[in-house]
């Protein structure tokens, strides 16, 4: 009996070791450990043994069964591992093939610039105000200290609809409307983005429609230096920390004093190039202290309140910031152009 059991064990272990796949292994399991297998057979035949041998043989038979079971499990794991590896190998793909494209659009570059500026000023306590594109002569000109026949009206050639209605030539009428809304009560801090219109032939540097962002702050004790500081924050945000600004006196009927802001030329770093007309400086926006007459006309007491305002040409900013050479690109909507502005801004 003993010999038979030892023989079975050796035989089984040898077969297990030689098993090439899970099916063979399962056949071995059935053959040796199954209900009709030799070990069961041995155990079944125990009754014929003398009683003193029975526990010895029984223990041995169990031992053999255990050893075989353990080996089977071990081999099974091995074979499973092999099979898995084989399967994974089969499943290998070319990871360099392109992925399934997900469409993702983005803001128009002008919106991108506007949004960046809006968010900067929202952080500084400003709200965003909007107004109509078709304005009355009063809001576009008169309330801004530009009475009829004022020579400065020539500065902005206007699309008129009737004698009194026109396409706004700047976003400043939104200032006036907002001032009226505040009924002479400061503080007021707003920025007003929007479309504006001038009688210009469309070419590389002119567009009959373009975007402006206007800023306005009215409070007690607003100073020219506050305007300078605010514009400095704006320039650094839009053009980078190393951007320098300078103010030059200028003239707008609705501000006094009026200034124009230049930024240091990024392209040549002040060396002089065609973009800055060899001056090292690029004109970027107009601004000034709100004219007392404008304050008064819109219901603010100029003795109590002062304010500053600035107006930015969005196309100009975008052209400088992204190096765009033709203003018409903004309105042609070539997707090869539009798709270039998908990256996050600094």
């Amino acid at each position: 009996m003993k010999e038979r059991l030892y023989g079975l064990k050796d035989e089984a272990l040898q077969k297990i070791s030689a098993a090439a796949n899970l099916k063979e292994l399962n056949d071995i399991r059935v053959a040796y450990l199954g209900k009709k297998g030799p070990i069961t057979e041995v155990l079944r035949g125990m009754g014929k043994l003398p009683p003193e041998e029975r526990p010895v043989i029984g223990r041995l038979a169990n031992e053999v069964r255990q050893v075989i079971t353990k080996e089977l499990e071990k081999k099974q794991k091995e074979l499973e591992q092999q099979a898995l590896e084989e399967k994974l190998k089969q499943e290998a793909i070319d990871v360099t093939l392109p992925g399934r494209p997900i469409n993702l659009g983005n803001h128009h570059p002008l919106t991108k610039v506007i949004r960046e500026i809006e968010d900067l000023f929202i952080g500084l306590g400003y709200t965003v105000e909007e107004g109509p594109e078709v304005e009355t002569d009063y809001y576009n000109f008169e309330a801004l200290n530009l009475p009829k026949n004022h020579p400065a009206r020539d500065m902005q050639d206007t699309f008129y609809i009737t004698e009194d209605l026109l396409l706004r030539t700047h976003t400043s009428p939104v200032q006036v409307r907002t001032m009226e809304k505040y009924r002479g009560q400061g503080p007021l801090k707003i920025i007003c983005p929007g479309k504006v219109f001038r009688r210009d032939d469309d070419d590389a540097t002119h567009s009959h429609q373009f975007m402006q962002i206007e800023g306005l702050v009215i409070d007690e004790n607003i100073r020219l230096s506050d305007l300078k500081g605010t514009l400095n924050v704006l320039a650094k945000k839009v053009f980078g920390e190393d951007c320098e600004i300078r103010l030059r006196p200028s003239f707008f009927p609705f501000t006094e004093p009026s200034v124009e802001m230049d930024i240091s030329c990024k392209i040549c770093a002040g060396e002089g190039c065609h973009v800055c007309k060899h001056t090292g400086w690029i004109e970027i926006l107009g601004a000034g202290m709100v004219h007392p007459r404008v304050l008064e006309m819109s219901g603010f007491d100029p003795k109590k309140y002062t304010g500053f305002a600035f107006g930015i040409g969005v196309e100009r900013i975008a052209m400088l910031k992204y190096g765009i050479d033709d203003i018409r690109h903004f309105y042609t909507n070539d997707i090869r152009f539009l798709k270039q502005f998908s990256a996050l801004s600094k």
């Binding site: 609809i161 032939d201 004790n221 006196p249």
Partner: protein, 805 residues
């Protein structure tokens, strides 16, 4: 304004500042210097010469062979093509080795077989604009005065060794439309004194001007000050070269000595003058009056102009002799025969002049100055100075006195400021003595009383009226660069976006997340495109004077210009184009009423929405892709349950593939396929579009998100496949299912639609999957089956639906 650096030096000491440095300083202090022109920058080696002989070139009709004395031992032979060259002339010669503007190098050459040792120059060839070259030399070489020495450098002779500062003057700084005005500005900037030309009391002829002329002004408001001087026995001829040089450098063409002097004074003082031929006026009277309707004048440029009552005229009592402040009349023009000159110096109403100049499209150096204002105190001074120069340069005698009409009342302007208040306005800390020093530099008289400063504004600075004007003067001379950087200190305000603005940003994000790129198109459209894709039938809002028919009316739909963009892209093989735009449309509400502006969002999609060929996925845009994008948007705005779609017929849209979008029961927009005929008009293919009234879409406040417990009990699903009439709308069936399903029915979704051979003609199969769920307990199959049966039964009654076997 073109400012000659050399000329300016006569009034202000510029010895320590180069033209470029000066330009920089002027720019930073108040007036933008557009450019500094160095007329001699590209000129080398040009000298004076005298033509000794001049004969026809044997091989070329248009050319002459000239023998020119250039101050060397031997005269040189030069071939010249100018029609006005002749022997005896003093001319400008560029010898071999010379350089001329435009990079031209002069070399010894053979022209048609004859040697040419250089070139005789026209002024244009020296870089002077042809419009300012004296007429007689406009088509040929320039002839120098007879007394010009031969062989000397021609650059200083022509005043080209100068720098021209081109000022870009803002409307308020018309005081710098004169050399004297610029001198005061530069004097203040450089802290230097200003030397004005000395105007001597002119020695008269002993006759009285009143015997020559009397002045009447019909309406004093038009010409509150009108003066005239008479100079007799003048000899008209060319001006001396220095004067011509200055005029040309300033952009004015020399004519003759008298006219040149009036222009010279205009440049010097900013006061326009006009010289009449006294004898041709034909009367002893000047009457300044408005034109009668239909009256005509032939101006100096030989154009006959029909006048209106808005035009102000200088007349001889009857006939017009000049269009006041704009241009003289041809009938009284100074000519070579003129011997007696009537010199007008006046102060005209700027608005009147502006209207005339605009109406007749006639802008002159004079009119632009009157429009922007002149210094009334210089009116008489300019006349005296001009008379003096006429005597010096054209001979003649001044008739004693000045004839005038004078009703100009000048209120002296005084501005009072407080230094402390000014500092609070500017953010500076200027001391009183610093303010005083700046006022001294500006040459403004003032009295200081502690903090308070009273400033008398000189009449040359009529742009200054209120304290803020003076703050600006002080700040700019102090230097804007010296003003500190601060931020507003006062009351805190809370920044942010309105609900609407926030939601609009969400709309952008959803559409961009779905692959649409933002486009921006023009608000102005053509009459042809007006009304397309829109139910709006009111008259368009139209510009009074459109620049082109393409941009003449305000749009009522965003789709036309988006289709233009698609067309542009498709023409460039950008086949997969998905665009959206947010912008206003304009609805006419009647003349002189602002149109209603409504913000819309629209989109156009064409091409492959999914383009992933190597895995066999190429899905072109269709109605349901566009609808899916919009459903995503409505879901984000929490409107899914309130949005419905209805089949629609709309201008420019495919009649079978277009739907209205309804919010509750209100149509807020549409989506669908562009009509093939409209596609042809725009030269586009397979475009789907949508347009929605954004203001209606975003009118309601978004609710806060709220938490609903995650289901604890399993849901049960049931699928039903129905056979219905082909034109039954899924939405109708879904509505019945929902109504019948009760509160246990959580969702209903279409999962299959089939038409074809397994379904009877005129029918279709449509299958729904329904999910039932009770948050309180596990549902039993039996109760769900009961509901399911009820639904099927109901659908049978309402739509004749049969279960598909």
């Amino acid at each position: 304004m073109r400012v000659s650096y050399k000329w300016l030096q006569e009034y202000v000491d510029l010895s320590n500042v180069t033209p470029e440095e000066l330009a920089e300083k002027i720019t930073l202090t108040g007036i933008e210097v557009e450019e500094v022109i160095r007329p001699d920058a590209e000129i080398k080696n040009i000298i004076t010469g005298q033509v000794l002989e001049c004969k026809k070139h044997p091989n070329a009709d248009q050319l002459s062979i000239c023998l020119v004395d250039v101050g060397e031992e031997e005269p040189v032979q030069i071939i010249c093509g100018a029609p006005n060259v002749s022997a005896g002339q003093k001319v400008i010669v560029a010898k071999p080795g010379a350089r001329l503007p435009g990079g031209l190098k002069i070399k010894k050459a053979k022209i048609r077989g004859e040697v040419s040792n250089g070139m005789i120059c026209s002024l244009e060839e020296l870089g002077i604009e042809s419009r300012v070259v004296p007429k007689e030399y406009a088509d040929g070489i320039f002839v120098l005065p007879e007394d010009t020495p031969v062989g000397i450098d021609a650059v200083p002779l022509l005043g080209l060794d100068d720098a021209i500062l081109v000022l870009d003057l803002t409307a308020n700084r018309a005081d710098c439309l004169s050399m004297v005005g610029v001198a005061f500005e530069v004097g203040a900037i450089l802290n230097k004194s200003v030397h004005l030309p000395e105007v001597k009391k002119n020695q008269g002829s002993g006759e009285r001007v009143e015997d020559y002329i009397s002045i009447k002004v019909a309406n004093p408001e038009d010409a509150p000050l009108y003066t005239a001087k008479v100079i007799k026995n003048v000899k008209i001829g060319p001006s001396p070269l220095w004067l011509q040089n200055r005029l040309m450098a300033s952009g004015i063409r020399p004519h003759n000595n008298v006219v040149d002097i009036t222009n010279y004074i205009l440049l010097e003082y900013g006061q326009p003058l006009h010289a009449f031929d006294y004898d041709r006026i034909g009367s002893k009277e000047i009457l300044v009056r408005r034109a009668q309707p239909g009256e005509v004048i032939v101006t100096l440029d030989d154009v006959e102009r029909k006048l209106t009552e808005e035009d102000l005229l200088i007349t001889n009592g009857k006939e017009p002799v000049a269009l006041a402040g704009v241009m003289g009349g041809a009938n009284s023009e100074v000519t070579e025969e003129t011997t007696t000159v009537l010199l007008e110096s006046a102060y005209f109403n700027g608005t009147t002049i502006r209207k005339t100049s605009k109406y007749h499209g006639l802008r002159s150096e004079a009119s632009s100055r009157f429009e922007k204002g002149v210094d009334p105190e210089r009116v008489r001074l300019a006349a005296e100075r001009a008379a003096q120069l006429i005597v010096e340069l054209a001979g003649g005698e001044i008739v004693d006195g000045i004839a005038e009409f004078a009703e100009l009342e000048m209120e002296p302007v005084e501005i009072q400021i407080e230094v402390g208040k000014m500092n609070r306005f500017l953010g500076t800390e200027l001391a009183e003595d610093e303010v005083a020093a700046i006022l001294d530099r500006l040459q403004f008289p003032y009295q200081m009383n502690g903090e308070s400063v009273t400033v008398q504004i000189p009449s040359r600075r009529w742009d200054l009226a209120i304290p803020e004007d003076l703050y600006e003067e002080i700040a700019r001379i102090y230097g804007y660069n010296n003003i500190p950087f601060t931020l507003p200190q006062g009351n805190q305000t809370q920044g942010g976006l309105t609900q609407y603005q926030k939601k609009r940003r969400v709309v952008r994000e959803v559409l961009e997340g779905a692959g649409l790129n933002e486009a921006i198109t023009y608000s102005l459209t053509s009459h042809e495109k007006y009304g397309q894709f829109s139910p709006i039938t009111v008259e368009p809002v139209r510009l009074m004077m459109p620049m082109s028919e393409e941009h003449a009316e305000l749009r009522v739909s965003l789709i036309p210009h988006l289709l233009d963009a698609v067309s542009y892209n498709q023409a460039r093989k950008n086949n997969d184009t998905f665009l959206y735009e947010i912008g206003s449309i304009f609805i006419n509400r009647g003349k002189d009423v602002q149109p209603q502006e409504v913000e819309h969002v629209a989109g156009v999609l064409t091409g492959l929405y999914v383009n992933h060929p190597w895995q066999g996925e190429k899905i072109p845009v269709d109605f349901f892709i566009v609808k899916g994008v919009l459903e995503q948007l409505f879901a984000k705005l929490n409107l899914t349950e309130r949005i419905t779609y209805e089949k629609a017929v709309l201008d420019g849209m495919h009649p079978g593939q277009t739907a209205h979008i309804l919010l509750d029961h209100d149509v807020i927009g549409f989506l669908g396929k562009i009509h093939p005929e409209r596609e042809k008009e725009y030269d586009v293919k397979n475009v789907y579009a949508f347009e929605i009234n954004l203001e209606k879409l975003l009118q309601e406040e978004l609710p806060e998100s709220t938490y609903k417990p995650i289901p604890r009990f399993p849901a049960i699903t049931r699928d039903i496949a129905l056979i219905v009439d082909k034109d039954t709308e899924a939405y109708e069936l879904q509505k019945v299912i929902k109504e019948t399903g009760g509160k246990l029915l959580q969702t209903v979704k279409v999962f299959d639609v089939y038409e074809g051979k397994h379904v009877a003609e005129g029918k279709k199969s449509i299958a729904f999957t329904m999910e039932f769920y009770d948050p309180e307990r596990t549902l039993t199959d039996e109760e769900v089956n009961r509901i399911n049966e009820k639904i099927v039964e109901r659908l049978r009654t309402t739509h004749g639906a049969e279960l598909r076997q």
